[in-house]
């Protein structure tokens, strides 16, 4: 099953390791793709959500009077807590009491709701999609997270490797058979030919070549780590690689750039 199918058929939970892996971008890109697939039930779901008892409480103007009434009932408790605060110097007790009093309705049947939440999270209709990047440390944390999820029976259905540098045209080229110095010279000659006349300074050519080789080195390490990570997950979990774009993806056009990498050839355009 591809990531496209996983996301189309499930309720998606995006989970991530440490910061900087692009979780917001990935979640936004998935959301945008979903919106463009005519998932028309979204408004009805929102309506259902707003019609729930707890939400209606929030929007009813007379509710504040009810909460005031509840506070009066708790006057004795608050009196005790105030004395405790004075004795211990801990000033949060009363606030905590007020918070629970005010939010009392939310905690009614809390346990049942937690059970229901677990049921949903563990259900066949839910897919966890892990977003990570190919740095050693981040990937190590992602491995730990996926292990914990497996232990909890949570269904990891896809992995997005974000900010990768493995989209190289040089792998498998004549460069592979070269020594480091030979590779540098070969690249330098090709760069000089591409730049043509007027000629450029050797330092500019060197800067371009060294920069390319640095990214290639980075990409080799990433490719090795991602392959090992995917092997550990097993072949049933689809993995996709999104390259490290050289600009911020902060608008719809930017997010659309990720779709071919996330959802295959042509991105969402493939569905017309």
């Amino acid at each position: 099953m591809s990531l496209r199918e996983v996301i189309a058929r499930h309720r998606v939970v995006v989970c991530v390791g440490s910061g900087g892996v692009g979780k917001t971008t990935a979640a936004a890109a998935i959301g945008l793709w979903g919106a463009r697939q005519d998932f028309l039930e979204a408004p009805r779901r929102l309506d259902d959500f707003l019609d729930r008892r707890i939400i209606r409480w929030f929007v009813r103007p007379y509710l504040s009077a009810t909460w005031s009434g509840m506070r009066v009932l708790n006057r004795t408790v608050n009196f005790v807590l105030r004395r405790l605060e004075e004795a211990t110097g801990v000033s949060a007790l009363l606030s905590i009491s007020e918070f629970f009093t005010a939010m009392g309705g939310l905690f009614d049947g809390f346990h049942a709701r937690v059970e229901r939440a677990y049921e949903i999270l563990l259900g066949a209709e839910t897919a966890f999609v892990l977003v990570t990047c190919p740095d050693e440390q981040v990937l190590g944390e992602a491995g730990y997270l996926s292990g914990k999820m497996a232990a909890l029976g949570m269904p990891l259905k896809g992995v997005i490797f974000n900010r990768t540098h493995t989209d190289s045209a040089l792998d498998g080229s004549a460069l592979d058979g070269q020594t480091a110095e030979g590779g540098r010279e070969l690249l330098g000659r090709i760069v000089e030919r591409a730049l043509g006349d007027p000629g450029v300074s050797p330092s500019d050519v060197r800067a371009l070549v060294e920069n390319c080789l640095r990214y290639r080195r980075l990409g080799h390490g990433e490719a090795r780590r991602m392959a090992a990570f995917a092997r550990a997950l097993g072949s049933v979990v689809p993995t996709v690689r999104v390259p490290n774009f050289p600009h911020d993806l902060h608008d719809v056009a930017g997010l659309l750039e990720t779709h071919p990498h996330l959802f295959g050839e042509g991105g969402d355009g493939a569905r017309g």
Binding site: G19, A169, A194, A207, N211, R224
Partner: protein
């Protein structure tokens, strides 16, 4: 470089907790590579080369554009940080290694020492160059 989170953390440390924060270390800074016009010229020239050479030259141009793109992003982020976090700021470069091991840690450690010494002597930031180890 999570700039917003760094600024929020700095504000919390100073204002809420009253801690004496002494220095800001900005890690993985991309310094950029060749001039943008030259990179564009390379990209155009790549299309005129035969076969694999075109792919190779295009990749060199693409990686240079990537580095310059991140350099521009990092410069903006550093500017925001400097405006919001008035501390001595030490900038460490992005390290390009297949595996981040002892050699890379030693290199960052050396850069930290050099930068701190330069700051103490009032010489400002030293220039660094990615050695490509």
């Amino acid at each position: 470089m999570p700039v917003t989170e760094t600024i929020e953390t700095y504000t919390s440390l100073i204002q809420t907790l009253g801690l004496p924060v002494g220095m800001l270390v900005v890690n993985r800074f991309h310094p950029g590579t060749a001039d943008t016009d030259l990179v564009e010229r390379l990209r155009r020239g790549a299309g005129e080369l035969p076969g694999i050479e075109a792919l190779v030259a295009d990749e060199v141009a693409r990686r240079a554009a990537e580095e310059n793109g991140w350099a521009a992003i990092n410069r903006d982020q550093l500017e925001r940080l400097r405006a919001a976090v008035p501390l001595p700021t030490l900038v460490l470069p992005a390290i390009f290694a297949e595996e981040f091991g002892a050699q890379e840690v030693a290199r960052l450690s050396w850069l930290l020492e050099v930068e701190c010494a330069a700051g103490r002597e009032g010489r400002g930031r030293v220039q660094y160059e990615e050695a490509g180890t």
